[in-house]
Symmetry: D2
């Protein structure tokens, strides 16, 4: 299904501040970028580079005053995400080398501390896809989704304890639990059609039976029509905007539509 998505970030910048943005989706598994657009107001020089994970990143010095970042994408997306009940665990020795680092603990996913809990949650499940799905389901049913209950320092260990959070926290917990079972897992940020309320979204992928599968603990059912914007080990790697100095987000709009949008620029 063809989706029209985008987001607009409006900043107030007291003095020029270095920023790294990560807002240009790439074509990949499950999505083909038909067109995309990236506008800055005022227009300023930008340098684009590819990070360790293959994300296209934009570096710039946000100018003092009002600063707006507007991006939009039209992409062909998969209507249904693949599921694979029973798909087996991929032994560590058979993982591709570039997947191995998704087994390591990271800032928000302290997999080294969640092993016993992961074993509890997945007891009786077949190693592999079913474990990851058991984890996803456990998070969905045991963690309360509520805005304003977590912040930029909240980690999987915090969420496991407080049992409350938002999509980012759900993803971190899913990732940390999977990794503690030696299932590679990574953070995904992007757009989800008909997300309610609409916002940028985060979920996770787990690597089983030789490929990545999508898991979203915030949802009742598997849902397709996603546009991936960036991949990483956790939220530290995939912040849509990383700023190195003070700068205030004054407004943010996100849209995902099946019909062409008259965009808000």
């Amino acid at each position: 299904m063809k989706l029209y998505a985008g987001c607009e970030l409006q900043y107030e910048v007291p003095a020029p501040v270095p920023v790294v943005l990560m807002l240009r989706p790439r074509s990949g598994a499950g999505q083909w970028v038909l067109s995309e657009e990236y506008l800055l107001k005022p227009g300023i020089p930008v340098v684009e580079y590819t990070d360790l994970y293959g994300n296209l990143c934009q570096r710039l010095l946000a100018p003092a005053g009002s600063f707006t970042v507007h991006t939009a994408v039209v992409a062909e997306t998969a209507d249904v995400i693949d599921t694979a009940p029973g798909a087996p665990f991929t032994p560590v020795q058979d993982l591709p080398p570039d997947v191995l680092h998704y087994l390591l603990p990271s800032r928000y996913c302290q997999s080294d501390r969640l092993g016993p809990q992961a074993l509890d949650i997945t007891e009786g499940f077949t190693p592999g896809y079913d474990q990851a799905e058991a984890i996803r389901n456990w998070i969905h049913t045991h963690i309360t989704y509520q805005y304003g209950t977590s912040d930029a320092t909240t980690s999987a260990v915090d969420t496991a304890e407080k049992r409350i959070g938002v999509c980012r926290d759900f993803a971190h917990l899913g990732i940390a639990l999977c990794r503690s079972l030696s299932i590679p897992a990574r953070m995904v940020v992007g757009y989800l059609y008909r997300l309610d309320p609409m916002d940028l979204h985060a979920w996770f992928e787990a690597f089983v039976d030789g490929r990545w599968y999508t898991f979203d603990a915030t949802q009742e059912q598997p849902r397709g029509n996603r546009i991936v914007v960036a991949y990483g080990r956790d939220a530290a790697d995939v912040a849509l905007a990383t700023q190195y100095g003070p700068m205030t987000l004054k407004g943010m709009k996100v849209w995902v539509s099946a019909e062409k949008v008259t965009e808000p620029v």
Copy 2:
């Protein structure tokens, strides 16, 4: 200056054939991609990957029948290309590692065979930028530009001998001559505003004084307003479409405009 550019390739495909396209410009030095669009007709699955040179490549199996590739880009481009008369040669031991391979001979740029000629052409010129410019100027004044005089197997050695060719041949000869003087040089394909007749274009870059400079032996004067589509060692690396089986190009349109184009799809 903001440019609206694009190209459309129409193929007739007798039986499904694997194709690698290289038609998605990236933001980089001298250009910022404001928006771009990539349409296939019929729509088919595509896998995108990044090649050794950082180009975004699209792999697909062109379906039997009519097959159209339409791409368009809006980019902010530099109006003037940098020139640097007198800029010094960068000694090989000071070159960045990822520039070194642009010193090696390649399919169409047999720099190992053109050393004496390069020394003749650049006699009396300061090592570095002035040598590269002397080479560019020598090609511009000694090689006749004429369509239909070369083909996909024509190399720099051929062009040095026949003294006739098109933009691709001019670039290959410039690259081979520069490399024979230990100046790294690479092939560029892309769009040039007001190229006459309009077509996809090729030129070269040479690395002197610590950075890449643009050289275009087909032009009288340095001209900006270029959109780079791909970089490589020579035309073998940067073919806009590499097909692995029979497929006929029935039509091709290229446009570069300072005003929004009602595109021909």
Copy 3:
């Protein structure tokens, strides 16, 4: 100075377990590998790959029973590490792209939580080298070095609180504090000549004034004669051995000598 170093790890393995080792030093800034040796007993198949940070990693399936990993290296090392009092902070917008990710928080270096403390420690110091050195010195004077006071889950935040730890904890804290000031910092593991007691060692590097500098908070004075074995964001990335299953380290020998060693194999 030429150093002869090495380590030997003796494991008891109950059942075959996947392991990733990171024990092959590469030549690089400040060290030239004259010779190295890598022996496994029993000899088993190994696959070597390069990780995201450029480290040479060895993957294998440790066999049941006794398993020994023996590595040795002879390297020319710098006798003195560079110091640069007063060297300026490199603004984020000028950092090379492959250095940027060393600004992000990681598993053991929660730089997002240590900003206020870093500002306290570095108050009055010139941004750049002097800040990193102030941090190093503060750790050296405020954190007690003591074996057995931390473990594999101990992070910079823990160490900042408990004020006790080992080389790895000292490095994590230094890294986290530097990053919180937008100074890129990375973990280094390797050998240090005349370390007492001899062991594998960890320290950190900070990126200021356009290059990496070595900092070691466990030492009174800057000391050279180091052999780097691996770089990473923190200890999660540079574990010399990451095992994915039970396996017991029964013995470990480490040696660094200015004279040829009759190695203990």
Copy 4:
């Protein structure tokens, strides 16, 4: 089988000249580097980096006067190379992305010009392994092996015409013919046990049925006990020493032995 191999290059250098060496084997498919040694006389600073193909390269400025490069390796090698009669052609659309560039023509392997000849040679053979073997066998039986009949500018097209050459020419022709049939092929340089007369050697690999296979047109029978030193598109990429200025090779020793060698340094 464990092999002790090495080479020593003795140069006379009139004035300092930049050199890139490629003489450090890496562990990989079919070989495990147990130990290696790399000595320069006089000892000078060297920078090591990884090239586009994963080879470890050493950059240095060879000093005026006598200059010696001595390298040695002890490696566990496969006694038998895999052969796979009947193994099928891998369709281009199924090739891994990092294999695709081994389909392109290169300096010494003008696959774009040898298609008809490749079709003649492989007529009646099953697409895939059998084609590559037919090519290898055709070269072995139709090209005369003779020292001193080719030089650094000799390409596959030249060899196809003159029907005479050395191991490097045999490999180039094999590569070009394979690529013209859309079989990825790459150049390999390294050591071969019991090569007679002993020298550094070159052969090629072709990618069929999802993996690389070894082919050596200089040999009667498939032979194992090889140590790969470097991979590339052709000899331009894998020169053991690329010099950017005058420097004379005064002597060269190469040894490969099943027993520990008292090395000639």
